[in-house]
Amino acid sequence: MTIFLQSLVSGVLVGGVYALIGIGLTIIFGVMRVINFAHGDILMLGMYLAYYLFTLGHIDPFVSVLLIIPLMFLYGGFLQKVFINRVLNALPQNQILLTIGLGLIMSNTMMLVFTSDYKILTTKYSSASFQALTTIVNPDRYERRYNRGNALLEKAHKAQATDKAALYARASEKFAEAVSIHPEQYRALNNWGIALDGQANLTKGNPADRLFEQAYAKFTEADKLSPDDFDIKYNWARTLLHQAGQKQGAEAQRLLTEAAQKLDAGLDSNSDSVAGLNGSALLHYLLAKQQSGPTADAQYKKALEQYGAAIAAASTSDDSTAPDFSGTSSAAARALLAKAYDAYQPPFKAKPDKRGAGISVSTPLAISFVITCGITLLLYWFLMKTNTGQAIRATAQDREAAQLMGINVKRMSIIAFGLGSSLAAAAGALISPTYYIFPQVGSTFTLKAFVITVLGGMGSIVGATLGGIIIGVAESMGAVYISSGWKDVVVFVLFLLVLLFKPSGLMGKSRM
């Protein structure tokens, strides 16, 4: 379900840009009845413009769109006036070939000038993404409980002493539910253990011991599932320490020894964990306090060692070395360690929230989608409300009748081609932060533009908008559910099916 929504959202976002490309092509086709094979190459020019405005002029591509649109409008008008106008009455095949030729000239000239190297426009946000709809549509029951449990754990840790017990209990509940859904999740087991430890720590006597035992069971299970995990061993040792704190004499000593063993075993493979080293130092210090004679001295020595290592690991500078405690007497060591650890409460190491179940949205695509929507709305307004827009629509409906009504058809054609070009170039600029830029990039987009326009119905703007989004979604679904190599095949098969069974497209009846 998450995967489905994820591919739907990214498909719609890409589809918005596709829609822009398709609308450009459909306006040109609607007014001139010319299929513009140079459409993708005009888009490529837009990409290059955005690239050089960014690298040379330091203008963000989402801002330079505003510059590129009028610039490419003029360029499109020029193409129409100088080339396309001459073949408006020629065979449709010749019109197609002329645009193919123009496209070849554009792509090869760019190759001549900028070579065929791939260029990448890297902005600060090029690879950024954010999570959307995490809580609303999060369909994973395990994850919701796990994340909720984590939130409660965090809250309990910070809460007043009176609320702590209840919060820890609720966190335990959540983790218990999460584990019942996914028993193999060591993260939930680990955090459950922490929550149980939190509960146990706030109670006394037999109930506490039962809770501690439950926590150990969780840690044992988690450790079995993820044997190399340091955090689990650390939390386990921390829980043992807490239980030892409630006991006296030999019982406490046994628990502390066990905790030290667990932690030191974990530290072997994870020797730079500050919390781990501090915890180990604390355990050895506490053990030393319970003993006397040479055993105590050895424990003090070990505790000091870990203390020094913790200081070294905590320091941010690279060349820090552990302070030299050799030769320190046991009494001095005891004073030193008392100062450091008497009030020390080792923090727990909860596994973080599980992420990615929300929908990851690429930031540049999201921004470009918003801009696309803006441009499309402006375009609708222009075509529906302004005189020029209505004249363009009239020309698209019936060229001769429009001419008889006193519309300057040639001028409308120039405006239409200009509009189409500026839309394609705008799309190029909008996708430049996410796509490779090279002279031949156009042909892919030309093909996509055809598919989109035919799907929506040649000449229909609403159709092109819809077609763009459908193609975007079909591509991303195809990539997810079939494979990324076959996603274009999906698109082309869709295209053929529409051509064969509904050649007028989805919105074929209405013209613009």
């Binding site: 449709p92 070939l97 070849l104 190759m111 190599g485 053929l496």
Partner: protein, 360 residues
Amino acid sequence: MTTLRTLFADTSGRSTVTIIAVLAVCAALCTVPFFVHNPYLLHIMILIFLSTIMGESWNILGGYTGQYSVGHAAYFGTGAYATMMMLQFRQVAPWYGVWVGLAAALVVALVIGSICFRLRGPYFVLASIAVAEILRLCTLNLPSFTNGAEGILATGLPPFTIGETVITDFSTKVPFYYIGLALALLTILVTWLVQHSKLGYFFQAIREDQDAAHSLGISLTLYKNIALVISAMLTSLAGSFYAIYVGFVDPPTVMALDISVQIVLICIIGGIGTIFGPVIGALVLVPLSEALRSNLIASLIFKIGLVSPDSKFGGFLNDNLAHAHTLIYGILVVIVILFMPDGILGFLKKLTARRKGGEA
């Protein structure tokens, strides 16, 4: 038989001159390898033959029948891949593999025809592109069958023998020259036969007005498919020839949209719907784009003294002009469409006609 009769019935007056001229040119072409030993020149001649085959075969469908397929890379690629796969994966010599290619092209053409011929005009163009792209993507995405994006590299051609005698071991370009020449002549002959047969008139009737032709009892589906099959099989031959000549195929070089477009442009630039149009197209396009590719144009610019090779711009031209060899296709097609809608051949005909008219 009908075809043969028309063939001979027509051999009078101007046609006799044309036939003698063609035979003389053929004879001259056959002797070329005895005088020209420069492999690069032979290479260019072979490319001209290849382009002629491609252009002529497209001409039958596009020029005579009026069905502008921009997906001929599908058949070119089919021929190239079939021959190469038979050679590399099955150890079948290319002169047998070619037949596999032809059969494959026939099947592909019938499938594509049954899909695309339901559509007309620009929709047909778009459908032909889509089908060719689907075929290319399938080739790319089925590595276990076609070797995918890696392509297929020929490790060597078996020598061509008749009985025990080795005719050629393909160590020079000369055998390729003769194969190319023979295939080019074959396609020209096929085109000529088509043009001068009833079939050709049906094709042209479909080109001029589909509905009128249909009302006269010409089955559109049947004759469009016949045109497509002839065209596809000849294109497949070109593909097979390309594959064994170059010795390497991969999807971008034999199946991409660029190939389809180039095939169309050869025909359009030379003159569409004429027998010698594609020949002219190949004669103009191949040397020009080769000159760009091999930096001849850049060195010419230096030789004339327009730009010094040591200057920054000169160095730039020297480095980059070779990459833009398809630029010439673009420029030529724009010029042709705007100023010579009937191609170079049509333009020349018009010029001579005007001169004759002036004299009279």
